[in-house]
């Protein structure tokens, strides 16, 4: 469904214009992002790299609507999310963003199935439809045999795959992943990366992944580096 402009390049799904952000630490103002401008095309799989404190997670949080910039606008699918209020932003996240965190962030008291179903509680779907969709998502990540397991009964790699199922279950516009392999061993990390790759390639999901691991970044289609609050040019990975 990627719409294309006259030149044939896919239309951007995200436009980031003049975004800046600073934090206050004690008396001191610490600039994190300074006048960031870039677009992300629909169907893109972008890796954001940079050293610790470079502002890559901050940028991801801004794009995902978890935080608001000091200045600038972030337009996702035609909506400037910096203009939304807290409740509006929550509703927007529910419809448009799928999250994958470094430490999975699953609810320990809910089963894999219930965790995946969680974002669907915010939709108008019936109980049966919710269940069916959650099962489909779990099947997609290869965990059909673990639906009734609690997080404490799953390995790190399985936990992250449950988290990925949760991120895709509501068919969001954008999947954001913050160091998705950061807490995993190499093998599990590979599985997660290949899963993300498949989601992008086969299902056309737009993914932004923050990582400091060059190997993980290679799984993406393109890479941008962030250093001292400034963004490098897009580098396409050879697939």
């Amino acid at each position: 469904m990627s719409s294309r402009d006259a030149s044939g390049t896919p239309a951007p799904v995200i436009c980031i214009e003049h975004v800046s952000k600073h934090y206050v630490r004690g008396q001191e103002e610490v600039p994190v992002l300074a006048d960031i401008n870039f677009d992300i095309a629909r169907g893109e799989f972008l890796a954001l790299m940079g050293p610790s404190g470079s502002g890559k997670s901050t940028l991801l949080n801004l794009i995902a609507g978890l935080d608001l910039p000091d200045a600038g606008s972030i337009i996702v699918d035609g909506v400037d999310i910096t203009l939304l209020d807290d409740a509006g932003l929550a509703d927007w996240r529910a419809r448009n963003i799928g999250f994958i965190f470094q430490f999975y962030n699953l609810m320990p008291v809910l089963t894999a199935l219930e965790n995946v179903e969680l974002p669907l509680q915010l939709t108008r779907l019936s109980r049966r439809e919710r269940r069916e969709r959650a099962l489909t998502a779990l099947a997609l990540v290869g965990l059909s045999d673990r639906v009734k397991h609690y997080p404490s009964e799953l390995s790190g790699g399985q936990l992250q795959r449950v988290a990925i199922a949760r991120a895709i279950v509501s068919d969001p516009t954008l999947i954001v992943a913050d160091e998705p392999t950061g807490d995993l061993d190499r093998k599990s990390g590979e599985e997660v990366l290949s899963l993300l790759h498949r989601l992008n390639q086969d299902l056309g999901k737009t993914i932004i992944m923050v990582t400091h691991d060059a190997h993980a970044a290679n799984a993406a289609r393109a890479v941008r580096h962030l250093e001292k609050g400034e963004l490098s040019a897009l580098v396409e990975n050879r697939q």
Binding site: L66, A90, F99, F101, Q121, R166
Partner: protein, 389 residues
């Protein structure tokens, strides 16, 4: 309708079993005290109200709140007996009973302590006016004799009141010839004998009270106004039910005020306990709250979820407390009614209203204990909360 699944709320309570049990246990204790007080109050009122019948009228001297304080001389008694609207029995006899009341001390079986009991002088009509009074064993006292019958509560709790035994008072020996059951009424804690005999023995020139049945309940006000206008009479008329309810006012008020004050003070402790538990829950689940917010749940969803958790916790406590208190229904209490100075036995009485009030009391504690932690959970910064995983 909150969107955070109930399973999430419920299982979080189950996960921290010990904390949940201790916090709910604290609340259960408070609810137990609260419920027990209400049950005691209800039991006392039920006993006193059941003692009277709505179509009976009690006449006592004006401004004397109890029969023991009251006296009605023969002249006034004669005027009263000729009042209109007094019901007639099958044989055409007016249904009134002159009664005299005295207090006498008897020794309790379990404590060995002497306690005041009411001795009521009455007659055939006195029994006819109170159909709730039934002879259980033995026979009724004969008119004009020194025979007495005793109520079941008295027979159970006091020494020397079995059939065939005698009580020595007013320089006579009084033979116990029967035991009567008056259900859960104050009469069950009384001794009854012939009014004329008791009056003479105690050298009383006057009666204590007059009780009569109205020909129609609607005539009470007419009669009351007529008595008020009659200058020969210095008496007060009350429906019997109201008379007995008034008699327990002080004791019921004392139990309620003391019990409810204690409950409220205890409840502060339980509320603080719930608050600590819920603050700890919020602190240990900061990352989960951040994640829920990131996924798209609103602040209000989080607020409601944590408030619901606290309410559920208090409901568990409430149900436990109520269950324990309902066991108190088997317990009967015998104590002095300070208004009549006589022994009165009554039981804890549970009603749907009391059960509802107790659960609402528990939920109020849960709400007060949970609202600040829930507010805090709802106000957490998403970015920092998510990172605390």
């Amino acid at each position: 309708m909150n969107k955070i699944p109930f399973n999430y709320i419920w299982r979080n309570l189950l996960t921290r079993k010990l904390t949940t049990a201790l916090t709910a246990g604290g609340m259960a204790l408070v609810v137990f005290v609260f419920t027990a007080v209400l049950m005691l109050d209800a039991g006392l009122k039920a006993t006193m109200v059941a003692t009277g019948r709505p179509d009976n009228v009690m006449v006592i001297r004006a401004a004397s709140e109890t029969e023991v304080q009251s006296s009605i001389d023969n002249a006034q008694m004669s005027v009263l007996e000729t009042l209109p609207h007094i019901a007639l029995d099958d044989t055409g006899k007016p249904m009134f009973s002159r009664e005299c009341l005295v207090l006498y001390s008897l020794v309790k079986k379990d404590t060995g302590v002497a306690t005041n009991v009411t001795i009521r002088g009455t007659g055939d009509m006195g029994l006819a006016l109170r159909p709730q009074v039934q002879l259980q064993t033995g026979r009724l006292f004969k008119p004009g004799s020194s025979e007495i019958i005793v109520g079941t509560n008295l027979a159970k709790e006091f020494k020397g009141v079995e059939i065939g035994q005698t009580l020595a008072f007013a320089r006579r020996d009084w033979l116990v010839v029967g035991i009567f059951d008056a259900g859960k009424t104050a009469f069950s804690s009384e001794v009854w004998g012939d009014a004329e005999q008791l009056k003479q023995a105690f050298r009383r020139p006057v009666y204590s009270s007059l009780i009569f049945q109205l020909d129609a309940p609607g005539n009470f006000d007419t009669l009351k106004n007529r008595v008020a206008d009659d200058r020969r009479l210095t008496v007060e008329l009350k429906p019997e039910t109201q008379f007995y309810a008034d008699q327990s006012k002080f004791l019921a008020g004392f139990i309620s005020v003391l019990g409810l004050t204690l409950s409220v003070i205890f409840s502060i402790g339980a509320i603080i306990g719930a608050m600590i538990t819920m603050y700890a829950a919020v602190a240990s689940r900061t990352a989960e709250i951040g994640t829920l917010r990131a996924i798209g749940f609103r602040r209000t969803n989080i607020l409601i979820a944590f408030l619901a958790e606290s309410l559920l916790l208090s409901l568990l406590g409430g149900i436990a407390g109520l269950a324990a208190a309902s066991g108190m229904q088997a317990v009967s209490i015998s104590t002095m009614n300070w208004q009549t100075f006589a022994e009165l036995a009554f039981a804890f009485k549970l009603s749907p209203q009391i059960a509802l009030a107790s659960l609402l009391f528990a939920l109020t504690m849960g709400f007060l204990g949970g609202v600040l932690p829930a507010w805090r959970a709802a106000r957490l910064n998403i970015v920092t909360a998510v990172r605390s995983a």
